[in-house]
Amino acid sequence: MPTALYRLFLLLTLLLPLTGHAGDASDFVAASPSKQAKLLESWSAAPDAARLPLLEALQQGRLAADSGKNPFIEVNGLYQSAEGEFAPAEAPRKLRLNNRLRGLIGTAMASHQLLAEEPALRLAAARELQKRAKPAQLGLLDARVASETDAQVRTALTLALANLQLVDRDPAIRLAAVRLLGETGDPLARTRLETLLDPAVEDDAGVRTAAQTGLAQVKRKLLIGELLGQAFSGLSLGSILLLAALGLAITFGLLGVINMAHGEMLMLGAYATYMVQLLFQRFAPEAIALYPLVALPVAFFVTAAIGMALERTVIRHLYGRPLETLLATWGISLILIQLVRLLFGAQNVEVANPYWLSGGVQVLPNLVLPYNRIVIIGFALCVVVLTWLLLNKTRLGLNVRAVTQNRAMAACCGVPTGRVDMLAFGLGSGIAGLGGVALSQIGNVGPDLGQSYIIDSFLVVVLGGVGQLAGSVMAAFGLGIANKILEPQIGAVLGKILILGLIILFIQKRPQGLFALKGRVID
């Protein structure tokens, strides 16, 4: 793994004697912000391996200075003199950096890492420089391309160099650079090539034509990335809608309970995640990354238990009176919200993504797929499959279907309808709890979490066709993708309104939803 190697390398460089380069750290500490910027620029044009510990400290915000402007580096809470053997006069204060300096530090760091032993480090540095290289680094890059041994790194370096060569005096070099850039799918290349189309900027006609063709290529690649990105965000939104609605597909779809407290089951699932995270923080901080996995069963059983309790105490009295269940469950939802508000406070609570759910994978230059979204899409599909198996391949599932289709007949056959009702409601609530775990990794966890999903959930179930799992899946993904196609065209607000309007129209056309249960029963 490159990051591990990188850390090892940094550790090694940290162990090098720090005294050899008197001046750099002191200069930096003493300089004004604009001077500091100049220093960093000059460093990035002429990298020196011995400066790495300083840059590393800067990048991590560990460089400090005392009142005598003596530089110190903080290591594990202790301040070590960066140059010479000073003891700090008083507690040194950490240096204040701003975003501009941080960017320059990144560039300097990258150019220093070009000297690293590890090809992986050099590759990362070269990629960084494709974005950030400054004209002053032209000479450095030129030299590195010539001496680079690893083919992959050389390609990356050549590209970084090409960016700078676009303003070279020699048209032949410019032409080569333009051709090279044309083959990337980098959004930055597009802007760079676009400027070359102007005869005032680029006087060579040949280069202009090359830029034209290159631009067309880049645009095509960018378009592919954009479309894939849209498809992915549609799928991601769909999977979130699906997780939010799946529990409802059982409690409303199968049992016929208009469960307005469904959103609160999601919310309780998210709070269960929060509690699990707290326990991990207190008792097993080293395994904190695993907390979402532990939260899954916990959330499932907590919400299932609450659901079953509600079913036994309130909902069981209301079967066959669907509109009354609406009011009663709405009451339950109000009570649950206020209860959570009193217990946990009105503020949102902090649920952090573990490292394996943060960040994303770069698929194309303009397409990054975040890990949490990938995981949630997979998770949603798993839950659907498991639910389907449970309903169609187990005895409980058989009983549930029997009871929901013909209660009296099922009872005659010896199915304990009351128990089945309870278990089915518990199952629906438990699945909502699982959805809550997933939602906690995407957005806020607060008492009102459920309220923002309840209407969408109902629309998914109704649109899909009540009682049809497959319908809900189709509806959720359909809505997600439709939303993401509309949003860039007409904006998020109008997009949402239009979707609602379309759903209303669709239901007028097909009152039974996408997948209607076929039957000739008339009530």
């Binding site: 669907p322 609406l326 009011l327 109000l334 209407i455 109902f458 109704v462 609602l500």
Partner: protein, 359 residues
């Protein structure tokens, strides 16, 4: 004998007493605006605060009654009545904003770079046209929605969820600044109505009386409808729509009529609500408000005409008291009310009162 004695007594009381109580309540309500006109230092003076509070609750009573006509009689639970209420309110708000702005643009428009009024604001400075809008906007929307919904025979839960989606869409639309209705802020800062100062005692009293008159009028209309053949057909729609169809009736027209009537009543209530509370904004369309209205009806007793009024009055009175006395526990009380009513009072408070009366 576990129930409070007050209820027992009410149950034992005959219809004459009920009528008497009704007359008394009406007398008090008529007296309120008149007492408001007294000078402020008079002992009997009713403050503007009380008057607007009661006026607001009366507007809610009209909504409850309108909702009861469709839910209690025709069996269509609408979770979107807040939309019709708000549309009526917005139509009146447009007039009031124009009145406050004089010849210029309403304040919210002028600083968001609107240079002229959008077309749908045309004529809203005219009170009569605004009144037409109060009726037309909710009425036409209900007509179109109802026509298609009843043609596709959407009912029960589906109907409820569709109406909820409708009001949700409406809320999002009105939240948009570019829709031209002041976005999240809505309309405030009203000054005059028909040339009268909106904060003057006389105007307040007049608005109150208008609200009361609308309430009594809708109540009378409700009674007439409920007693007529039309009312019986509606009840049949609620109880067994298919059998009714087999008897040769087409329920669509009946449903559509009562649905549009209910929407218009809501719109009128909204129009009276706005000048009294002084603000209209999209949060009136939030699905929560519409669900709450359903609870007023359920609590009071649906399928009766007095019940919803009782429910709206009780819930809102409780709300005003609870949010002052125990703000943290108001939602518990409301939630428990929802559950308790559905479990133990399927016919609402009225049902409880009547049960004994019939014995």
């Amino acid at each position: 004998m576990n129930q409070p004695l007050a209820i027992t007594v009410a149950q034992k009381a005959g219809p004459k007493v009920t009528l008497g109580v009704g007359a008394l309540v009406l007398a008090v309500l008529i007296a309120l605006p008149l007492l408001h006109l007294l000078p402020a230092d008079n002992v009997l003076h009713v403050s503007a605060y009380t008057l607007t509070l009661v006026g607001k609750i009366l507007c809610y009573c009209i909504v409850a009654l309108a909702l009861d006509l469709v839910w209690g009689y025709a069996g269509l639970l609408s979770l979107g009545h807040g939309l019709f209420f708000a549309l009526g309110g917005y139509a009146m708000g447009m007039y009031l904003s124009r009145e406050a702005a004089g010849d210029g643009l309403p304040a919210f428009m002028s600083f968001l770079a609107w240079t002229e009024l959008p077309w749908y604001w045309y004529g809203t400075s005219n009170f009569l046209w605004a009144l037409c809008l109060v009726v037309l906007a909710p009425g036409l929307l209900a007509l179109v929605f109802g026509f298609f919904a009843f043609r596709s025979r959407i009912k029960g839960v589906y109907f409820s969820i569709m109406t909820q989606a409708l009001t949700f869409a409406g809320m999002l639309l009105f939240f948009r600044n570019e829709t031209g209705f002041g976005g999240n802020n809505g309309f405030t800062g009203f000054t005059r109505i028909l040339g009268f100062d909106i904060t003057a005692q006389g105007t307040r009293a007049a608005l109150f009386i208008a609200t009361l008159a609308l309430l009594v009028g809708s109540l009378y209309l409700g009674f007439k409808l409920a007693r007529s053949k039309f009312g019986r057909v509606l009840t049949a729609v609620r109880d067994a729509e298919n059998r009714l169809m087999f008897c040769g009736y087409d329920p669509r027209g009946y449903k559509l009529f009562i649905w549009v009537l209910s929407a218009v009543l809501c719109g009128l209530a909204g129009a009276l609500y706005v000048p009294q509370v002084g603000i209209i904004n999209p949060s009136e369309m939030s699905p929560t408000n519409s669900i709450e209205a359903a609870v007023w009806v359920a609590l009071g007793g649906r399928g009766t005409l007095i019940g919803p009024l009782l429910g709206a009055g009780l819930v809102n009175g409780m709300k005003s008291w609870f949010t002052v006395a125990f703000p943290e526990y108001w939602l518990f009380a409301l939630g428990a009310l929802f559950i308790g009513v559905t479990l133990y009072l399927p016919k609402g408070v009225i049902g409880l009162l009547r049960k004994r009366g019939e014995q």
